[in-house]
């Protein structure tokens, strides 16, 4: 009886998620006539280009996640220290990039970061040595674009955990002899770890599957998995190879979740309290 209200969602999940993913898996195991085979996976691992793209995808995702964490941590802390109404307003502003179209956002970056863009013009005018820099169509461009879109995730997840931390604990730490730095390292930071882990997990997964940003802001060297999947389907009609690549993407996502569960516990994604 409890499950009855879940039926619509359950049907939708099966039709639009379980079934396609299963088909994807089946497709990735098909080659020529006959039963299932690991042909496409072997093929994939024999091609240095795919290995490189896999490694690149994971590396860029990790880097973008790290940048979002470094930028987002102080920002989230700041939000916990100001008036709640102001914090809500700033959180909404921080979330804007998440609600704008990826295309609009990316073209805005092109205007800003291109070799003749606002940023480089300013740097040249200021006489910064080495300017203009190659900010677009490079790994720098991809990292700027990705970390920007990951930031709202990171900030909101960190904020919710930080907001639950009693700041008087810092007084307690000081009272027993902890300098502000040691109090941060031994008390505050460990208490934010569930938020750090949750933010990194969701940002990393989001980065892994990103498509438009690396395609428009990077060069061929920054090609990521999603672009290759699209190329294999659209241009090369290689459905089975694309399916194998998609399964790889899914595997990395599952791996990230497993790691999170091992280190922090999945329930911490929903329950941020100590």
């Amino acid at each position: 009886m409890l499950l009855l209200p879940l039926l619509p969602a359950l049907i939708a999940l099966v039709v639009f998620f379980v079934y396609p993913v299963a088909m994807l898996l089946v497709r990735s195991l098909e080659h020529g006539p006959g039963g299932i085979t690991l042909y496409w996976y072997e093929y994939l691992f024999r091609q240095p280009v795919y290995i490189r793209i896999l490694i690149n995808t994971v590396r860029i995702s990790i880097e973008a996640t790290a940048i979002a964490l470094v930028l987002g941590y102080p920002l989230a802390y700041f939000l916990t220290r100001i008036r709640p109404t102001l914090a809500a307003l700033l959180a909404a502003i921080i979330s804007v990039p998440y609600f704008t179209s990826a295309l609009v956002r990316t073209y805005a970056w092109i205007v800003l970061l291109g070799s003749g863009g606002v940023v480089n013009q300013s740097l040249v005018a200021l006489g910064i040595p080495g300017a203009p820099f190659q900010l677009m169509y490079s790994e720098t461009g991809v990292l700027i674009g990705l970390s920007y879109i990951l930031l709202p995730f990171m900030v909101l997840l960190l904020f919710s955990v930080m907001n639950g931390i009693d700041l008087r604990l810092m007084q307690a730490a000081a009272s027993i002899g902890a300098s502000p730095l040691r109090a941060f390292v031994r008390v505050y930071f460990p208490l934010t770890l569930p938020g750090v882990a949750a933010g990194c997990l969701l940002a990393f997964i989001q980065a892994l599957g990103s498509y438009i940003t690396p395609a428009l802001m990077g060069s061929l060297r920054e090609t990521m998995l999603a672009s290759v999947i699209q190329q294999n389907i659209d241009k090369l009609d290689q459905w089975s190879l694309a399916a194998a690549l998609a399964v790889m993407l899914l595997a990395f996502t599952a791996l990230a979740f497993a790691l999170f569960n091992r280190l922090i516990g999945l329930e911490r994604l929903f329950e941020a309290k100590w």
Binding site: D166, R168, L169, Q171, A172, A173, A174, S175, I176, G177, A178, S179, P180, R182, A183, R186, V187, P190, L191, W274
Partner: protein
């Protein structure tokens, strides 16, 4: 600590004319207090009286506008909190939620780079001292309120501070546990010889635990003294009322004659007598008569030292433990008086609505001159 002979950890804590205000709003004005080494001093007052501000100023969490705070004669008011080396027990305990009891208590020592073997020994003996042995591996959320309180106390004591500051540490506990903790804290304090500055709004707790009580009101000291002094010789109406069960009457001195017996006339014309106080004829005075010093009797009552006061009607009777508490409406004093008797003094007790007479002894009437 259990092994070492009763050490005298305590040092003198001196607060010298400190002031604190937030904008126009003055919290403390020229507050001074000296606490001897090993002394247990309580700041007692209602909320907003500035008692917690003083404690937090000593701990270093509230910056003071002027004045000095000295430990053993050395001024440390310019030091940040983490360099002051005082033990602090907070009202809400503030245990570190991600650390076990053992880690919480060991933390002050690891911060001081104490050798590992010594940390283990000191944590064990401190947990034994506060009665938490066996719970070392629990997280704070797995402890009861009383156990959290003990863990917070252990964390504040483990590095052997000279002074322990306690901010309403028992406020969140139920009455029975509170009384037990009062006893234990007092025993630990005596054993360690530590100087304690304690903050509470509970006058019974203050009277039970303190060597000396400082009654605070509006950022200033109302009176300082032992529990007995404050109770028996309150310096102001505020102190008398705050310490509880005081009947407060007002009148004018009409005669101050033989053997320092002072005769006072109330607004209604009722006359009362007081001995042991001196007052000048014509002076306006406040009379304090503790509820336990007023007796219910009949019109013919005539016992040595007693005088009849007036007639009244019992409004309310309550039996609390071995005493009877009455509220008696006495028109002659223009209000209700509290009366408290031993149960066996009035075996059948007066009932509500009954008319009774009240008697008192002049030596129990304490006079406070009105400004």
């Amino acid at each position: 600590m259990a092994a070492s002979p009763s050490a005298t950890l305590g040092e003198t804590l001196t607060v010298r004319s400190i002031s604190k205000s937030y904008g126009e709003h003055s919290i403390l004005r020229d507050f001074s207090l000296e606490i001897a080494a090993g002394e247990f001093v309580t700041l007692l007052g209602p909320s907003g009286s500035g008692k917690t501000t003083i404690l937090m100023a000593v701990a270093g969490f509230v910056p003071i506008d002027s004045g000095q705070i000295l430990l053993g004669g050395r001024d440390f008011s310019a030091l940040p909190p983490y360099k002051r080396g005082l033990g602090v027990v907070f009202q809400s305990y503030l245990l570190f939620p991600h650390m076990t009891v053992r880690e919480n208590v060991a933390f002050p020592l690891t911060l001081r780079n104490t050798p590992k073997a010594e940390i283990v020994a000191r944590v064990a003996e401190t947990l034994e001292l506060v009665g938490l042995k066996g719970l070392e591996n629990r997280l704070p959320r797995q402890l009861s309120g009383g156990q959290q309180q003990r863990a917070a106390l252990a964390r504040a004591l483990v590095f052997r501070p000279a002074v322990l500051l306690m901010d309403e540490p028992l406020g969140a506990l139920d009455k029975k546990l509170r009384e037990q903790m009062q006893f234990e804290i007092k025993a630990i304090q005596r054993r360690l010889g530590i100087t304690v500055l304690y903050v509470t709004h509970d006058q019974e707790e203050a009277m039970y635990m303190s060597d000396r009580i400082v009654v605070m009101h509006g950022g200033k000291i109302e009176q300082t003294g032992t529990a007995q002094e404050l109770y028996g010789r309150p310096a102001s109406r505020f102190v008398a009322e705050f310490l509880g069960d005081a009947n407060v009457l007002e009148g004018r001195v009409v005669a101050a004659a033989n053997e320092r017996e002072v005769e006072i006339e109330l607004a209604s014309g009722l006359r009362m007598w007081s001995t042991g106080n001196s007052a000048a004829v014509g002076e306006q005075v406040t009379m304090i008569v503790r509820s336990s010093k007023v007796r219910v009797c009949d019109a013919g009552f005539n016992a040595e030292g007693f005088r009849l006061m007036a007639e009244g009607e019992v409004e309310d009777v309550a039996h609390v433990r071995n005493s009877v508490r009455l509220r008696v409406n006495v028109p002659a004093v223009g209000g209700t008086l509290q009366v408290q008797h031993q149960e066996d003094l009035v075996p059948d007790g007066p009932l509500a609505r009954e008319r009774v007479h009240l008697a008192y002894q002049p030596r129990d009437v304490w006079l406070i001159a009105q400004p």
